[in-house]
Amino acid sequence: MLDEAVIERTLGAALRTGGDFAEVFVEDRRSSSAQLDDGRVEELSSGHDRGAGIRVVVGDTTGFAHTADLTEEGLRSAASAAAAAARGGGGGVREVALTRQSAPRPNDVAILPETVGKGTKVELLQRADEAARAEGGSIRQVRARYGDSRRQILVANSDGLLSGDDQVRTLFVVSTVAFGDTGMQTGYESLGRTIGFELFDRVEVEDIARSAARRAITKLDARPAPSGALPVVIGPGGGGVLFHEACGHGLEKDLVDKGASVFKGRLGQQVASPLVTLVDDGTMAEEWGAYAIDDEGTPAQRNVLIQDGVLTDYMWDFLRSRKAGRAVSGNGRRQSYQHLPMVRMTNTYLLAGESSPESIVSSTDRGVYVAHLGGGQVNTATGDFVFGMTEAYLIENGKITEPIREGNLIGNGPTVLSEIDAVGNDFAMGSPGTCGKDGQGVPVGDGVPTLRVPALTIGGTAA
């Protein structure tokens, strides 16, 4: 993307005022999308972003500047701005010699989306629209969206690192509106992978569309959700966001360092039920949060965060591990070249247990079965979190019975983790997600087997 000598000189310029560390992050991102709504292919969009972010670290202060101008002059000017922001005191010249490193990609990409005709992408939308509407006359509205992105990055730093990655992601989303006696209800289904257009050789967009349509139709007959605390069984693949919110964010080292995590100081301690083994894995082939290197140039890793209920490690960014003199974890990510990296999750999942899913449901007398969770939010300092149920049913006398309307579940992370009393043997990964933190969104994946929490507060209106 850039000449090595230019990067070396830029890093030299960044360190001219005495920085301890400098880094150049270059990104070239192309994206395309197409949307069908209200029965009509209404829009195709193409985007191109290209630029560099430069950071300079002096002591505990980080200076950052970015530029869309990738000429040597543009880079030098950004380097000077970052250095001035970090206020390096001393002068001097430091030479930086880069060593090119390579990290294995989690998987190959067979068909680059940019090589596929726009007409072929549009056709997927029309097939999805037709399939969703064929599910029943109650389907009043369908929106289908295709999206792809190719993000090529280069990271170089004053430790001599030079590395790159080529990240291709493909996404298909269908949302529906069903209309009945009780008003309107919505359904949503999405599929995304860190691969190219071969995604559509493996899955039929009709299946995604039908699933979105059925979700909306099912909810037309849904009863109001109960209120108060009840046992909650979460279905396979549908509830990874529970761990993302209940403890994932709280295990990010930047929050831990500031005392803003209930998991601070708890390494080596039992923080969850012995049934819980939680992993964050950026190497997981094709998953939405997968990559070869993170946005600081560290190769992705599989990190065990909780083993049999015992907290084994936090997630780290490069600078924090460098300062602590410990191994990197590959969790330093940023939304774009315009952002500083932070500690972020990749693909976060709970390992399968031994119970059969059927026995988990049948041993629950009265409760809620959540087939699919929506987004969530957590306060890492208190551990209190919420997340939405987008497809849920009552469990009565050990059987899944009627659908219930949407609502939030609310709980406390450490409490919920320690109370989990059943984990199934049927693991599945969930839908592609975008995790937001401090104004930056990054793609993440999650997964769970069937599991049960003995008491979660259901945010419904029924007694």
């Binding site: 829009e43 195709l44 985007g47 869309a68 209120s227 315009q338 939010q377 300092a381 406390n412 209106t461």
Partner: protein, 447 residues
């Protein structure tokens, strides 16, 4: 600052005969400072810029953008937008905005002096805020983040259909997230101050809010599940009214996704409720003289005395509904096409102060924070379920703190159940203003 009209002209020069072309060009300069324990942790200086291009031909619309003003890239975006148009399906209502005879009002949203504030002063404000929060109360044990941020941005919209307008504004903010601990459990709070330039920032208020919000929650417990009167403070009601306003978008109406679609002229809310969208109100942080298609922004009545007046419209939704644009096109920056939406909705305040309203409530909950609104409110069905925190109200006085409970209702019901509106209209950096709302008979779910 680069000349944005020059970039727009480059786009329009690429128009072929028989097509409409629009350039949406934006540029901003931003500073962000994060301090920790009295020192700078991060300081970013940034220049954000880009161009979004719409091409309409044969009733089809295509879009492309680029995050640079490099002429070759801009010309490539025009070509790409034209190519994209060929793959869309035709629509008789599609087309760019054209002058509609309404001139934009002049709004004072730019403070030249913000551009010359030295970085030291910005850092100093953040350091001052952090120290003030830490010293406000002995139970404050930490600061999760303490930031200063500012932005000076300009936007130009120009089209071959005759629009050529710009808007610019400055803004800055101080925000602190605090941690409090009473030895038993931690609680968090936040405080902020927003201004068009640094002289308008109020460190003391931001610090007091950050300390109060965290410490008042210490010892909070989970309430039982019941139905009772709920009071929403302005911070919470602004978020809720933002969602209500989003359902009044012509885009949602024409696509059959608004629960208010067929209800114009009907009583959709308590008769005390009047909601107006007005981006020309300079007090609003969403204020702008022009919308994101270049038409003059204007006042749009949405609900009057509880009766639904109508919807906000963009050019496309206005044509499709047989009306006209209300100057309410909004975009998420240069990377997206316009839709119809609110940016400055506000309720007409009532006459009672929050204290007077509380005094009349024998048993209720004052809600001061909500979480999971994005997952818990479905703007199509109206189902509403949100995590909440706040204080118990007993016999007209504030009592113990409550946490880890939810509010449950529907948007339709909640609007009808509003029994009082406070006099404390508060302009917040959101799409709607806040005001104290008293709502009867809301389900709360806890133990």
């Amino acid at each position: 600052m680069p000349d944005l009209y020059e970039v727009a002209d480059l786009v329009l020069a690429g128009a072929s005969s028989g097509e409409e072309v629009e350039a949406y060009v934006s540029h901003s300069r931003e500073t962000q400072v994060r301090v920790y324990e009295g020192s700078v942790e991060q300081l970013s200086v940034a220049e954000g810029l880009g161009v979004g291009v719409r091409v309409v031909r044969d009733g089809r619309q295509g879009f492309a953008y680029c995050g640079t003003f490099d002429p070759a890239s801009v010309r490539a975006a025009v070509a790409e937008a034209r190519d994209n148009a060929a793959f869309a399906e035709p629509d008789e209502w599609i087309g760019l905005a054209a002058p509609d005879g309404i001139s934009p009002v002049s709004l004072d949203l730019w403070r030249e002096d913000l551009l010359s504030v030295p970085t030291d002063r910005k850092v100093g404000l953040a350091v001052e805020l952090e120290a003030a929060v830490r010293s406000a109360d002995p139970r404050i044990t930490g600061i999760e983040s303490c930031d200063y941020a500012d932005s000076a941005g300009e936007t130009v919209v120009a089209s071959t259909t005759g629009l050529r307008r710009s808007a610019r504004s400055t803004g800055c903010e101080l925000v602190a997230y605090s941690l409090a601990d009473d030895g038993d459990a931690a609680q968090t709070g936040f405080g902020f101050s927003v201004g068009r330039t640094v002289d308008e920032l109020d460190v003391a208020t931001a610090a007091r809010d950050a300390a109060d919000r965290a410490t008042r929650m210490l010892g909070a417990t989970k309430p039982p599940s019941e139905r009772l009167t709920v009071v929403l403070d302005p911070w919470v009601s602004a978020q809720l009214m933002g969602i209500v306003a989003s359902t009044l978008s012509g885009e949602e109406v024409v696509k059959g996704r608004s629960l208010f679609a067929d209800r114009v002229g009907e009583q959709v809310a308590a008769s005390s409720l009047t909601l107006v969208e007005d981006p020309t109100d300079v007090r609003s942080w969403g204020a702008t003289p022009i919308d994101d298609e270049g038409l003059a922004a204007r006042r749009v009545p949405l609900i009057s005395d509880g009766v639904l007046d109508g919807f906000v419209q963009s050019t496309w939704t206005g044509r499709r509904m047989g009306t006209a644009s209300t100057g309410s096109a909004v975009r998420g920056g240069f990377k997206t096409t316009p839709t119809a939406g609110c940016r400055a909705a506000a309720l007409v305040p009532g006459s009672s102060s929050p204290a007077e309203l509380l005094a009349g409530i024998s048993d209720g909950v004052l809600v001061q924070e909500v979480s999971g609104l994005h997952s818990g409110v479905n703007p199509v069905s109206g189902d509403l379920s949100t995590g909440a925190e706040g204080l118990r109200i007993r016999n007209g006085s504030l009592a113990e703190p409550l946490r880890e409970f939810t509010l449950g209702s529907t948007l339709q019901r909640l609007l009808q159940d509003i029994v009082a509106i406070g006099n404390d209209l508060t302009w917040l950096p959101m799409t709607a203003a806040g005001v104290t709302l008293v709502i009867a008979d809301v389900s709360i779910s806890g133990q």
